[in-house]
């Protein structure tokens, strides 16, 4: 009979229509501003900079500009600092004097997150970012981008745990290396003292440095061959 299949098709629409009142599978929409769906696991929107402790001093970024170079739409702008500040390992490092991301250019690809060797730039999940000014409003500065590690741990608990583990391991490695360097230096100095009976100037700074975060002793002078 002509039209039989059309009637069958209408039965399907009727099933879906009435089904939407009883079955969650047939009504998947939510009323957005009032109702919200839970965030999906790895969801990403725009980059942010993670800091530990103080938003200014604890910023993990060392202004290496790898993300700036790799960013496909070139939306990151970094100016390196003139001076250095100690990083989480205690080593003096540069920090970004300016770190801007133009989120109206950003395409949320997360390449910056992948290439960052310092676990510093991560993806935020905030998406309600409407601004009345389309130039300045979307140019996020260092202060807007800085987010605490606790905030990040809340967004992506698994990833945050991983990156914390990486940082702790790095720190432990750096400390062990610094300690080994200090010990080696002490041993070398003792040897030198024994050999030439040198006066104190070389030996005295060492205890002072060892009490401070041990690492600065290690970086300025490239690890001496005796360190091994």
């Amino acid at each position: 009979m002509l039209g039989e299949q059309i009637i069958k098709g209408m039965a399907v629409t009727a099933k879906n229509f009435f089904g939407s009142y009883v079955s969650k599978d047939r009504l998947t929409t939510v009323q957005y501003p009032e109702e919200r769906l839970p965030q999906k696991g790895n969801t990403r929107q725009f980059p942010m900079l993670v800091f530990d402790g103080d938003p200014e001093k604890g910023l993990r970024c060392v202004a290496c500009t790898i993300c700036e170079k790799e960013c496909p739409p070139q939306c990151i702008f970094i100016v390196k600092s003139k001076d250095k500040k100690p990083d989480y390992k205690g080593q003096p490092q540069l920090y970004p004097a300016v770190f801007d991301i133009d989120v109206s250019v950003c395409m949320s690809c997360s390449i910056c997150v992948e290439v960052c060797p310092f676990e510093s730039i991560k993806m935020n999940t905030e998406f309600e970012l409407s601004e009345p000014d389309r130039f300045e409003g979307f140019l996020l500065h260092k202060e807007d981008l800085a987010k605490s590690n606790e905030y990040y741990s809340k967004l992506h608990p698994d990833d945050a745990r991983d990156s914390d583990a990486v940082l702790t391991a790095e720190k432990a490695k750096a400390e062990a290396k610094a300690k080994a360097a200090v010990e080696a230096k002490l041993a070398a100095d003792a040897k030198a003292k024994a050999a030439a009976a040198n006066p104190a100037p070389v030996a005295t700074p060492i205890p002072a440095k060892a009490t401070a975060p041990a690492a600065p002793a290690a970086t300025p002078n490239p690890p001496p061959p005796a360190a091994k």
Partner: protein, 389 residues
Amino acid sequence: MSAATMPPPSFQVKPKLDAQGEPLGELLEISMGPHHPSTHGVFRMDVVLDGEEVVKLKPVFGYLHRNHEKIAEGISYLSTMPYTDRLDYFCSMTNNWAYALTIEKLAGLPVPERAEYIRVIMAELTRLQNHTCLIGFFVQDMGALGTPMMYAFREREKILDLFESVSGARMMCNYMRFGGVRVDVNDTWLAQAHKVTNEYAKFLDEFEEFLTANEILLARSQFVGVIPKDLAISAAITGPMLRASGVNYDLRKVDKYGIYSRFDFKVPLGEHGDIYDRYMVRVLEMRESLKILQQALRDIPAGPVMDPKAKLRGFRPKPGEVYGRIEGPKGELGFYVISDGSPNPYRYRIRPPSFINLTVLEDMCLGHKISDAVVILGSVDIVLGEVDR
């Protein structure tokens, strides 16, 4: 008919004549698009009509040209990956795979077992959602305003949720990497994928009950927009359009790239090469995809998802040229890359399936009504992001 009303010389076609040899009417040249709901994006058809019949059709594209191929020559290999998402924005996973496969071929990178399985799962999910959406769209072109498309989009969203929870984005996944995939999938995800796969068969049954035997769809699609077998081959058509014309050519069977040789699936073929066959081939392909998905989700091994030798920063493949291709949902998606040993490709070119499938649009439309031209265009399955690049 005066000379002033004749179409311009580029459209030298004459209107039909009556018994006395006089023209029955005038030809009408219509520019459909670039902003037209039936053109699936910014695409223009210059159509010359005799009455309602199409006598000449010229596809005009380039409205969405974004200089993708040239941009890729100026940025690193890795940075091109997110741009490939934006070629065919329905199938970012397969685009990623095609590009990753090409560069892996160039650099000689192996891919871990688990990553290969994940890639197959992602590609088949992409095929599912692409075909579902496409059917929704072109049924809408026939006048089924909204309802089938909404059902299609409802199901597609379940797959996009899977993509989002693993890659972080619904459509612009940016998921594959040279030598593996970016993030591993967890057991919860696999269970969810299993659930979606199992429920999809039910949805397909309902969708088919809704559409397949519908008299209006049959009347509008059977023996409309026919591509004969020899034309399909000589015009280098690929994908479901080629198979609807009865040519058994599926790169998953021909190239056996990735691990497709391990799966048991069939390649559905059409007979007449009309719109209905293209519709049916896609529906059957979805059912085969479900089979592949079930096998892949069953067999997926544990292990790493990234080759340890693969590196993200400072990736410089050795000089050489390579062409890598996969069977995307729309057809053969190929990437041609020449490397000169620098961090950027020296030359980068894409073979987009829907662009080449579009070249036979005039052959399909001639002699049909203008309203059929809309449906024929819908059945080609074009995405302008890929056509124009």
